[in-house]
């Protein structure tokens, strides 16, 4: 899919909470092997954090890099499955916090882990069609895994904001994107339920890998490239293993995946995952580098995007904290503290 106008990413911003719990600690509590764990540790939001506060810091960082008057934004869209309010938009709070109200479209988007890139697709279309000069898309989550469930090891918190604008101001220009969806119930959470459920190994081949590889291949054929032609490749990161396996299936060199692979350090930030990986790549990519980013959301679908870095990246990169700084700012907590912070002890 291409746009009428030439557009790109004019600002980006990340945020990862400070607290970490080691996977070995979770395994110890539930009587599992502390060595065979999906990631080293995962991020845990502090007791005063939620998807909204995370979105706000990511959004502020994006505004700093774009050096944009927030009033020029035509949309603030937040993709998340951990809305602080079931009914009442997170996006209106974010828009107010950054000073983008009131002439703006604000809404929350939901598509499991690809809600963030779904919002990004929307923003690309909004700006690409000329409806607005700028639009902000945020992918953010404070994911909750049921205690003792396999997903408890990875369900993490973090987010990233992308501002879409004219190609002339872009730090990365947009070539094309592809959305690939089917009705595949690999993971879900019913209304009023606290924790999601999943279909175990069914989440692999027919779900994650099928959608990721097909979205990537379709995008590549549209832009006339092979996946391995890109300098950097980011996949949705439910754990440390899946993205590397997807790279293998698509013939992508592993070194191209590593810079955007952050799940081993902070876990799966759900709707924040692919966009945080994208932010981590923006932190290091050089002008002229090409970037392939493929998200995955259960239920199920993938969005794939092709970007090319411009000279502007070198000017704006240091105007806000990078992903590495947030990953490096870490405080280990034990399972009991984690249980308290995440309100796993019901009172």
């Amino acid at each position: 899919m291409k746009t009428i106008k030439d557009i790109g990413i004019v600002g980006y911003g990340a945020y990862v909470p400070m607290y970490r719990i080691k996977n070995s600690d979770i395994a110890r509590v539930w009587g599992n092997d502390p060595i065979r764990v999906p990631v080293k540790e995962k991020s845990v939001p502090g007791p005063d954090e939620d998807a909204c506060t995370i979105a706000c810091e990511a959004a502020r960082n994006a505004i700093l890099r774009a050096a944009l008057d927030p009033k020029k934004l035509g949309a603030v869209w937040v993709g998340t499955e951990s809305k602080p309010y079931a009914v009442k938009p997170t996006a209106t709070i974010v828009a107010e916090v950054i000073g983008a109200t009131p002439l703006i479209n604000a809404a929350d988007w939901e598509f499991a882990c690809k809600a963030g890139t779904e919002a990004l697709q929307g923003a690309l279309g909004y700006v690409g069609s000329g409806m607005s000069d700028y639009a902000m898309a945020i992918g953010v989550d404070t994911a909750q895994g049921q205690p003792a469930d396999a997903l408890e090891y990875t369900a993490a918190a973090g987010g990233s904001a992308m501002i879409v604008g004219p190609a002339s101001e872009a730090l990365a220009t947009y070539e094309a994107s592809c959305s690939f969806v089917t009705d595949t119930p690999d993971f879900w959470r019913r209304q009023y339920e606290h924790y999601p459920k999943h279909a175990s190994r069914f989440t692999g081949m027919p779900a994650y890998f099928y959608h990721i590889t097909n979205a990537a291949k379709n995008l590549c054929s549209e832009v006339g490239k092979e996946p391995n032609d890109f300098d950097y490749v980011i996949f949705h990161q439910p754990n440390a293993k899946f993205p590397m396996a997807a790279a293998g299936m698509l013939g992508v060199d592993k070194e191209k995946v590593i810079p955007g692979l952050i799940s081993p350090y902070i876990g799966n930030t759900y709707a924040g995952s692919a966009v945080l990986g994208l932010a981590a790549v923006f932190d290091v990519a050089k002008p002229g580098d090409t970037v392939l980013c493929v998200s995955y959301g259960s239920g199920a679908g993938s969005d794939a995007f092709s970007f090319t870095m411009t000279d502007k990246i070198d000017e704006v990169r240091n105007n806000a904290p990078n992903v590495k700084s947030y990953i490096g700012r870490r405080v280990s907590i034990d399972y009991a503290t984690y249980a308290r912070y995440r309100q796993k002890i019901r009172m």
């Binding site: 400070m18 502090g46 007791p47 005063d48 954090e49 939620d50 909204c52 506060t53 706000c56 810091e57 602080p84 309010y85 709070i93 107010e96 916090v97 000073g99 240091n318 904290p321 990078n322 590495k324 700084s325 947030y326 490096g328 700012r329 405080v331």
Partner: protein, 133 residues
Amino acid sequence: MSVPRHWRESVKRYRLIGSKCKACGKVHYPERTVCPLCKSRELEPFQFKGNGKIYSYTIIWAPPEGYEYCKPYAAALVELEEGEIVTTQLTDCDLEKIEIGMPVEIVLRKLFAYGESGIIVYGYKFRPVLPIL
């Protein structure tokens, strides 16, 4: 639970908006409608940058009702770059390492919530300045 009371203050709390006296130039936080310095009633909104250093602090071990969720937590008087002092909570900080003069920066956090079903009140807190790696 008073919704209008929190709504009325929310933007000022989100963006640290106080006032500036058009007559004498003094900036105030919280916002004022009369300048206590020169008694002028001509004031305009003024947004503080949100950078400052700790003037004094405490660690709250016996919180008021509604704030138990993050106990123990630090509170501080933060002297802003622009000169005013703001009362705030500190977040994301090592309670053992806080000291007078420590540089801090604004972040947006949950201040408190009216139980499981009421509104969530967001506002500024301050944290130690994030080291850039």
